[in-house]
């Protein structure tokens, strides 16, 4: 319990430090901040005036405190390119990203764990070879390339599914599958090797000697002992999904946090960059914190 409290405190301190670092780095990113709003011909004085208007001339700590104060009260400023209120945009973007990321994590475990179990139970047969090669390929294929292939096949050629955008369940299928590919491959490998490791253990021999059926040994005892590394993987998946979603959302035009952040960086729309960067830093940090606490609680050897 003590270790959990100290971890929470130190993580929050690091979160504070890193949010300040991200904030400062974006504010110091040079005169280009004005490029999103002003024509190339704008004079240096005009640019300076604009910087002063949006408060960029104040000391960085003061800017940070002001920003965080506004952040907490929900006043997030406006986009420099579309002038839309970020607080209005944020809700929809976050909801879309949660839908995509959540379905991806579900798909990863619903598909990955059973496939890994099958590969372990049928080890050294053609089924195992097939599943293992599939997972090696799944980890090697970059997801933007996989995205193009699926769009080409299912959208352009077969016309079964839309190639992008957010238009209900059908438009979710392709991005969610592409976002899950690498995770499925990894989960298959993890499940397979965790199962194999446990199948070789003494307790399995004891259970066999006690006369339990093979099915019961595998699905109850071996699986239960193999779940711990898989659970810890689930925690890490959250961070991974956030990373890959930046790319996948952009390709499929899925209107989520990843897409708006990447477009913001491309257009140097710094209020957008500022808010959504901080949002992702906080989300990933808290995700990791919960994962490590969950892991400690799930593992009796670490519980003190």
């Amino acid at each position: 319990m003590k270790s959990i409290i100290s971890r929470v405190v130190s993580t929050l301190l690091l979160l504070l430090a890193s949010s300040l670092a991200v904030f400062a780095a974006i504010r110091f990113s040079g005169g280009d901040v004005t490029a999103a709003r002003m024509p190339a011909s704008a004079s240096a004085e005009d640019r300076e005036l604009f910087r002063r208007q949006i408060g960029l001339d104040k000391p960085i700590l003061e800017q940070y405190v002001t920003y965080m104060g506004n952040f907490v009260t929900g006043d997030l400023g406006n986009s420099l390119t579309s002038n839309a209120k970020i607080s209005t945009l944020a809700g929809e973007k976050i909801r879309n990203s949660l839908i995509l990321g959540g379905s991806s994590i579900l798909i990863v475990f619903i598909v990955g764990v059973p496939l890994g179990m099958i590969a372990a139970l049928k080890r050294n047969t053609w089924i195992d070879t097939g599943v293992t090669s599939f997972s090696v390929a799944g980890m090697a294929i970059p997801n933007f390339w996989l995205a193009l292939l699926t769009i080409y096949l299912f959208a352009s050629t077969l016309h079964w599914l839309p190639s992008g955008g957010q238009g209900g369940f059908k438009s979710l299928i392709l991005p969610a599958l592409v976002l899950s590919a690498e995770g499925i491959a990894l989960t298959v490998r993890m499940t397979r090797s965790a199962m194999l490791e446990n199948i070789g253990q003494d307790f399995v021999r004891t259970l066999r000697a006690a006369g339990l059926s093979e099915r019961r040994i595998y699905f109850k005892h071996v699986l239960r002992n193999s779940l711990l590394p898989i659970i810890s993987l689930a925690g890490l998946r959250v961070g991974q999904v956030v990373g890959y979603a930046l790319v996948v959302e952009t390709i499929f035009g899925w209107p989520g946090v990843g897409q708006i952040l990447v477009n913001g960086v491309l257009r140097r729309d710094y209020p957008i960059i500022q808010f959504f960067s901080l949002l992702l830093v906080i989300a990933v940090t808290l995700g990791n914190l919960f994962a490590s606490i969950g892991y400690t609680l799930a593992n009796p050897r670490l519980r003190k």
Binding site: V136, P142, I151, V265, L280
Partner: protein, 283 residues
């Protein structure tokens, strides 16, 4: 000798090494052989392979896809391998020191390392691009930072286990200096796991560089990057898919070869590393 013999019989290691050698040769010598990658000829756009002297066809602007791909390979190799190599050296040094010295320094290092490690490489690269602008530099910084902490984390864990072992206790009792214990006794024992992991991190770095360039935040035109080539070709998938297919397949082969080498090394050096490595490489 025994190790070499086993290495030759390891199918994954052999096939991975063959593919990697081809890729490295293409990346190093290809740009000299295939000529100008930026030469445009709008009349000769969208050509399929083996036409008008274009080995792998031409892109929308009539540029030679093969010539651009080999330069793309070179950039990708530079970012992934040389940056990861530096990260491995620094990360190993940090991990060795933290794990052996312990105390307050170790606590601080572990805290920071664990925190950074929690962030996916692509997100760190996008944040870096958000701060210093698009280009190869944010990708290089992100690969360097994330891979350094990833290696440091694993090395520290290994060292914690090793310092309890008799041979280290004996070396300490024998009055050897800390530096000697670190370099002569601990380093050789953490090398296998570092070697295996760094091949996975090279794979992740290749994907990150390609992904960033694909969305437009990595290598900037006219510099050809594989990810950016795939992106350029996506509007012409139906007309002439080669512009995307060639770089896409190249990235796939690059990542595949490095992962095969990683799997092969893992089985060769220590099969017991299996789960430990997979847990750590879930980046």
């Amino acid at each position: 000798m025994n190790l070499l013999h086993r290495a030759r019989r390891n199918k994954q290691l052999v096939s991975g090494s063959v593919l990697a050698t081809i890729i490295v040769v293409l990346g190093v010598f290809g740009p000299f052989l295939l000529g100008d990658y930026s030469h445009q000829d709008l009349l000769l756009g969208h050509l399929p392979p083996k036409t008008s002297g274009y080995l792998l066809g031409s892109d929308a602007l009539g540029r030679d896809i093969a010539a651009r791909a080999v330069v793309g390979i070179r950039i990708s190799l530079f970012v992934a391998i040389s940056v990861t190599a530096i990260a491995v050296i620094i990360g190993t040094a940090i991990g060795l020191t933290a794990g052996y010295v312990r105390g307050a320094i170790d606590n601080l290092i572990t805290l920071i390392v664990d925190f950074i490690w929690g962030f996916p490489l692509i997100l760190v690269a996008v944040l870096a691009a958000a701060s210093i602008g698009s280009g190869l530099l944010p990708v290089i910084l992100a690969v360097g930072l994330v891979n350094t902490v990833a290696i440091a984390r694993v090395v520290r864990g290994e060292v914690l286990g090793l310092t309890e072992k008799e041979f280290i206790v004996a070396a300490k009792a024998g009055g050897y200096s800390t530096v000697r214990i670190l370099l002569k006794h601990l380093l050789p024992n953490v090398m296998p796991v570092v070697l295996v992991l760094s091949s996975y991190y090279v794979a992740v770095a290749i994907i990150a560089e390609a992904s960033l360039s694909f969305v437009g935040l990595g290598a900037q035109p006219p510099l050809p990057s594989l990810g950016q080539m795939v992106s350029d070709g996506r509007s012409f998938l139906i007309m002439n898919h080669w512009e995307s297919t060639v770089p896409g397949v190249v990235i796939f082969i690059m990542v595949l070869s490095v992962s095969l080498i990683g799997d092969g090394l893992r089985d060769l050096l220590d099969p017991r590393l299996r789960t430990a490595v997979e847990r750590a490489s879930s980046k």
